[in-house]
Symmetry: C2
Subunit: 333 residues, 2 copies
DNA sequence: TGTCATTTTGCAACCGGTTGCAAAATATGT
DNA sequence: ACATATTTTGCAACCGGTTGCAAAATGACA
């Protein structure tokens, strides 16, 4: 068993409170005392039990990191950034995988049992009631990559997916395509819905351009490939806005396999600008999502909420921009 | 603040022990009592504080999930499998990102402060002393994807990287290549070293075949691409065993860009069989690493160690096999 | 050196649970 | 209905810390 505060106190010949105070910053301890205690502690190899102290302080420094995106490579980067960012601030990510969870109940209970200080929901596909459920349990919540103001009471950090849809549409129109397509991700993901809305709203300003749309079954390579193969069989559009980069890459492979080429026969623009998008054998034109900034901001927000749990909920939106690569034909004129 | 056991006891008009026992399975409680308590608990929305109970039971059900591989897409799958597998057994993964950690000290201290019940080190690149450090702190450890018997005292679950190196060499020789190359990952990764050793040892049995070798700086697309571009500039080998699939895909892109083609001009075989390897626009011949089995077995081992902390350390090795796709020329004969 | 303000220290109660033990309640057998 | 075996329950101590409060020690000043 591990060394306890009591043993350190005995060895140092002081009270338990003295030891506790030595390891609590801001507490009043004389230099002499501190030296005695630190000596004894290091002799014994003592390190305080964070969970025991959480009982009285009410803080565990545990943050639930909740996600259901374990198949999109971009989320590996998200996890990397979150874990490091949290660690740097002395917080510990308790990872929760929500894949095929229908309702938030179980996770909420679990995270409450572990008295997490806060929850970060990192997902662009979870319905808003998940984040809401944590909030209702009285835990500070930040929904990263979530739908803007999807739910009052919950802080959201992410992008404006509707605007991204518009931006994609605008880009395709500018390039002079006369028939454009929206090839979305799963239809029940909030991000898909918003991108669709934005795309269509922008296109309605360009009645001369033909528009069609469809949805892939998941944000995955296979789904993108399958859907694009299907589209290419009938009368395809000249260019597509694909739900995200993984879908785009799947679509690219379908184009290649159909003895067509990008951007000559079909144009494609993705969304995310994942690392792979710039690989030379992919070279995907896409809309850049500032992941690093979103994660950093989410963590900052979380940290301030720890001191201010009832902070008025805000939505932080980061602008996106088109990254020009090789899958869309050059600007018209 | 959350509802406590005491409040439930008061509302149900019973002792605190009764409430505690109702929520502890295996404890002796009459049906009548149980009903009373459960009623009160659900009225109040009580759920027991896992950390408080850990204080007396000595178990937190927290498992440290330690890794430094946050750039290799294959690890997203690893995290997915680990988190779900652990959750299914009522265990909670506390994620630790060791990227650019030089020594294990900090993480060991942190994980001890949180009294994790065990630690899974999931990395093919961490030096063995990391896993060892956790073990020395008296915490049950499983090193997944680690070097076989790299360190006594530590359980290892993974593949035989040396054998994989041999297998790759054997495969290339069988295909009739007369000059083969080893293009490894970072030279300080144990997996790289072992694959190298195996590759060379097998090749030494084929003195007529010319062998060369070099190392990329990281297990990443860019590094693989850069290294292959460099190799192609001088007299390249006819086929390469690349350190892993990500490196291979980088190498493929270099081959494409040099107006060469795979497998006609250069053969490539990777290792891992990550999901991307079977994407039609990549179609990489590679050695399959049974990730799912490794993770499952690691978790099983971890679970048994929770009851048997001093279990004699074992090494579990899973066989790999070549997956035939399109980047190596067909069998000779 | 004595008085008073300030800092340091220890006591004891508490955080939210668990558990050994003995008393109370219930079940069993005659 | 009684004696005895078995189960259920509550008491109280404990897990490893923290913290308000008052006493003890130290410092400041005359």
């Amino acid at each position: 068993m591990a060394i306890t505060l009591k043993e350190v106190a005995e060895r140092a010949g002081v009270s338990r409170s003295a030891v506790s105070r030595t390891f609590t910053d801001g507490a009043s301890v004389s230099d002499k005392m501190r030296r005695k205690v630190e000596k004894a502690a290091s002799d014994l190899g003592y390190s305080p039990n964070a969970l025991a102290s959480s009982l009285t302080t009410g803080r565990t420094k545990l943050i639930g990191l909740v996600s259901n995106n374990f198949h999109n490579p971009i989320f590996l980067e998200v996890f990397d950034l979150f874990t490091r960012g949290l660690q740097d601030r002395g917080l510990r990510p308790l990872l929760v995988n929500l894949t095929d969870e229908i309702n938030p109940e179980n996770s909420v209970r679990m995270l409450r049992q572990y008295s997490v200080d806060g929850v970060v929901v990192a997902s662009s596909t979870l319905p808003p009631n998940f984040a809401k459920a944590f909030r209702d349990a009285g835990v500070p919540v930040v929904h990263s990559f979530g739908r803007a103001s999807s739910s009052p009471q919950v802080h959201v950090v992410g992008i404006d997916n509707t605007e991204c849809g518009r931006m994609a549409a605008r880009t395709l129109v500018e390039r002079g395509y006369n028939h454009v397509g929206f090839m979305g991700g799963p239809q029940d993901a909030t991000s898909t819905q918003d991108r669709y809305t934005g795309f269509m709203s922008e296109m309605s300003a360009h009645p001369k351009v033909k528009v069609s749309y469809s949805f892939a079954e998941a944000y995955s390579f296979d789904a993108g490939r399958r859907e694009m193969l299907r589209l290419l069989r009938a009368a395809p559009a000249e260019a597509y806005f694909c739900g995200d980069d993984v879908l785009s890459i799947g679509a690219l492979s379908a184009v290649d396999d159909s003895d067509l080429s990008c951007p000559n026969d079909v144009g494609i623009i993705g969304l995310n600008d994942m690392e792979m998008a710039k690989w030379e054998n992919i070279n995907l034109t896409t809309i850049h999502q500032p992941i690093r900034q979103i994660v950093t901001s989410s963590i900052e927000l979380m940290v301030t909420m720890l001191d201010e749990p009832d902070r008025y909920p805000e939505t932080r939106i980061f602008p996106c921009s088109v990254v020009e690569r090789g899958t869309l034909r050059a600007q018209a004129n």
